[in-house]
Symmetry: C2
Subunit: 613 residues, 2 copies
């Protein structure tokens, strides 16, 4: 019971710290002002006679207070100051018009672009139906409540910088692009105008398409109706709710044994990092929390991972024996299994056996929750753009937009595509085989000598990134082709070289790392372009820094690369610490760093929440 | 860019604290074990020769470390130990059957009941479609993100105590009660069985109906279709999303001036604490956050509070001039306004003028968000129960279930109703007027003398709580009725007294405080009843501790009562600190105390989030 006296007392006590709070409130509301520490009258210190110890302990203590206040103020100011460039003043008149860059999307590529482009050179407009950036690699943690949703989200407006022409953000979806008139057609996504859809057009000077991708069901029937995806925040929220619903429903007294087992069967389709990390988080949730809350149900829980290939996490180095590392209680990993259909009764799978002449019989796995995480498909806008540019016979990839190595969309002018919606496809050298040979043949003898060949490689490297791998091994290539030891190569021998090099073209994976680097690259390229239109700018070059996958029970697998060590593989508890440190440091704002760290501590102390909201 | 060397370095550094974390992890997972601090070998301290200062500074420092570790460990243990009674072991055999108490609901009354009832005396079963308890007084703070939703929720299972017959919780909705067979009919709310609804029956020995209430629209057309409520967590989430949607939509380039103004018009119907607190939080959100993010829109924002009565916060003391206190930028308080209809085009209001013979013409206020917060109506289950007991002509209140002053549902056996769904209606004395008179008339002279009347008041006080107010003023009542100074009162004079006293019957407000006290009362009463069936137990007595309403801009109004001071009114900044301290201390778990406190600090430092999820 509450004593009124204690209330009043606590009210008084709290009033005393009013000054302190008033200061911090002011700090928060007036962002541009520097921290003003209230002037403290320091009594003049009397001259210290040697030999008299501590003549002015109070004065010293006061100085200590001032010092502490200054340090404290500086810390608060540091925490708060990142809001500096948040203000948008909306005044757009009286300045010379700057070229407008319209960025579609608010993911890794778009954010990285917005952060790095110079708003003094360009008027930047961001259009995305999602008004926040999502730190996708930590999304699996949100599905079970290890992290709170807000901790991995940041308002995109935070990065809308204030200049004479401030960066604009519109919560809308781009539905079409008019390449000739250079404008994007956008529509409102909220339908608050009595369900009428507001549309508007945005003219652009440069258009950046970074809309990402959608989930790919590979045409499997029943996926949309019966499965959950794990791509957006909404997906994570729905999965969390379903996990809790499934347990509460299984707990009802009227439930049959079979129905309980069905409800508590969790199926993950796809053994890539996303699927495996979800299964890992689920396994943690089961072992650390749900076991405690529903001890009588845990024996009926089963988690199944279905993977078409012969092992999970197959983008990782073979040094990592994923199945062995990722061995968890209740988790059943079924590799070489193809999903043929999904229905409310279960997921239909067919074992794939190499070399078998007749297809294996199918099995049906009943489930309470099925998470579909098999890969990505083309975004409707990307597909529309592709269709529009189709007559040029350049956009021939049905799964992504094709760009050159400068990230410019092929077949369009002043349009760029990056991130998951795009794929860099350099020109094939074979298309210009004879011209290349002629250009390389300096002495016109219809043969290429080693020095001619070396010159050719160095000259063409910027145009054909597939040559890069052979840059330092030009001689090796030459000697290999020059089978008859003639000291020179003919056109036919040159063709074998070109074919070999063309076939080595790498497609970058659809990861946050690639998208982020592409955004930064394009921003810097546009910045440079604005200052000197004719300057040559190097093509985009991806630097793989490493990949992580959390595998549950405070363990992770990590694959790191750097210029010195070719590949560095780590797994277990140390990799988990590394995973956490890297992802913490990779949070863009101090706020999210604190939130993510705080959530980890919270989960450690109190466990994961089971309230269904 | 990320340096791989720095990664590896941080991994190594972090490995060093592995021991520390391992300890805290163990603490978390094995809850019942006491904290084990790793034994530290303390080097034996050499005997200190007097005069030699600090001979063993290292040993002392080490002891300090051990001491710090012990204190730290104790703090962590204290934080974690509240999980002690969480375990549910599910073993129900081998013990004598205890009477079963079925509690319907998971609000204030239900939680308070679950916390206080002795699980060694009763088998407790909680049934509620909502698997968490919601700290409703802080719900308005969630609508704008001052607090996170998780901070004001607690899983009801947390309070399901572990004994030989552990407390059960079922996520289901009670749809019917069979009073004769003493059982509740429940249905599953999740529909995970291919959309088939699972139903089950729960026999009870005691049934506690604490299902709360629903929103009351008073039959106003268009409310459900066009307005938001503010009662459950879902409501708060939807309101938050709508506020952000409204701003983003108003920000679109194609928006007309009129449409922008419509979108940015926020209407709150009902000037009670809930409505006012929402308007206050909204005003904070506008002034502290949205103004920063949408500076060009803020001039078009308007908040209107509509109240039927002549002033807002009218349950508070008249000393608080609410309209004057709650004067905020952009907020328009319209008292004496009745809402007649709501449509997508706007809310139709009619000014109410006292004494006016013809009704005033209506006005239409367009809105982007309308929050309806006018009061509560009867819950469907309560209504069903009322209909079932109607033939007894006891459940005559169309807005709540009628109980006696012991919280027993009138007209049913072993059924109790508490919280918002119930109202205590003591018997009217007038019904037994002549019997009461006869019983009081000890000397049989058909008149009551003062001492007879005094005895009557004392005797009937437990049965008729309406007498309470006159308990110490029996003589005053007597003298007032004895107008002819006869020194005694006749039956007719007695009737005037009884009518006056009956009319003073107070109806308790539908607040968290009442519900909470009722739950605790009933739990203790049932505990006592179990030990001694025939013991007299005093009727429920409500003790009003005070009420708070947050009015924005770090100010609150508070009304406090206690036995010494009749009423204590406080408003402004001090009341706000008091409000925060009280609500923080009223959080049931240490976890939520930390979360709520953390959220307040977070909002102070970083502002409120504008990501839409």
């Amino acid at each position: 019971m509450l004593s009124v006296r204690s209330l009043i007392r606590s009210g008084r006590v709290l009033k005393n710290v009013r000054g302190l709070v008033a200061t911090s409130t002011r700090l928060n509301s007036t962002v541009v002002e520097p921290v003003v520490v209230e002037p403290v009258t320091v009594t003049p210190v009397a001259p210290v006679t040697p030999g008299t110890p501590n003549p002015q302990p109070r004065g010293k203590r006061r100085l200590l207070w001032v010092f502490s206040a200054l340090v404290g103020g500086a810390i608060v100011y540091y925490l708060v100051k990142e809001d500096d460039d948040v203000y948008v003043d909306g005044k757009q008149t009286g300045y010379p018009k700057k070229p407008r860059v319209v960025i579609l999307g608010s993911g890794w590529a778009a954010l990285s672009m917005v952060r790095d482009i110079d708003p003094n050179l360009y008027e930047v407009v961001v259009v995305s139906p999602r008004n926040y950036f999502l730190f996708t690699p930590l999304l699996p943690s949100v599905t079970v409540g290890t992290l709170d949703s807000k901790s991995v989200m940041e308002p995109i407006r935070k990065y809308c910088k204030r200049t004479n022409t401030p960066t604009q953000y519109y919560e809308a979806m781009a539905t079409d692009v008019d390449f000739d008139a250079q404008k994007v057609i956008c529509k409102d996504v909220n339908h608050l105008n009595n369900n009428e859809v507001t549309t508007f057009e945005l003219p652009y000077d440069h258009l950046v398409v970074s809309v990402g991708a959608i989930n790919n069901t590979f045409g499997t029937p029943g996926v949309y109706e019966n499965c959950f995806f794990l791509k957006e925040m909404e997906d994570a929220t729905l999965i969390r709710r379903r996990i809790l619903d499934v347990f509460e429903t299984a707990n009802l007294p009227a439930q049959t044994e079979a129905e309980r087992r069905r409800l508590l069967s969790f199926v993950v389709v796809g053994g890539g990092p996303n699927g495996v990390e979800f299964a890992a988080e689920l396994s943690d949730f089961l072992r650390e929390d749900l076991k405690k809350w529903y001890p009588h149900l845990i024996k009926d829980v089963k988690v199944t991972i279905l993977e078409l290939m012969d092992h999970i996490l197959n983008t990782y180095d073979r040094q990592i024996n994923s199945e062995k590392v990722f061995k968890r209680e209740n988790i059943d990993i079924r590799t070489n299994h193809q999903v043929t259909a999904v229905s409310p009764d279960g997921i239909v799978v067919r074992p794939v056996i190499k070399g078998a002449t007749t297809p294996q019989p199918t099995q049906t796995i009943p489930f309470g929750l099925c998470v579909w995480s098999t890969g990505i498909g083309i975004h409707p806008l990307s597909n529309l753009i592709r269709e529009k540019l189709k007559p040029n016979e350049i956009q021939t990839n049905r799964r992504a937009l094709i760009t050159d190595q400068y990230l410019s969309l092929k077949g369009a002018k002043n349009v760029y595509a990056l991130g998951d919606c795009a794929t860099i496809t350099p020109e094939l050298m074979i298309k210009r085989l004879e011209d290349l040979f002629k250009e390389a043949d300096a002495n016109g003898d219809n043969k290429l000598q080693l020095d001619e060949f070396r010159r050719f490689v160095n000259l063409q490297l910027p145009n054909y990134p597939q040559l890069e791998e052979y840059g330092k091994r030009a001689e090796e290539l030459f000697l290999e082709a020059d089978a008859d030891k003639a000291g020179s190569i003919t056109l036919d021998q040159f063709r074998t070289i070109v074919q070999k090099v063309d076939s080595k073209m790498k497609i970058l994976p659809a990861t946050a790392q690639v998208a982020s680097q592409q955004g930064a690259y394009l921003a810097k390229r546009l910045n440079a372009l604005s200052e000197n239109k004719d300057a040559a700018y190097p093509p985009f070059k991806y630097r793989h820094l490493g990949s992580f996958a959390y595998i549950g029970a405070d363990e992770a697998v990590a694959e790191l690369t750097n210029p010195w060590i070719e590949k560095y593989v780590l797994q277990g508890y140390g990799a988990w610490w590394l995973w956490r440190s890297v992802y913490l440091s990779k949070q863009f704002s101090m706020k999210n760093k604190l939130l993510v760290g705080g959530d980890w501590v919270k989960t450690e102390l109190f466990g994961r929440d089971i309230t269904r909201n």
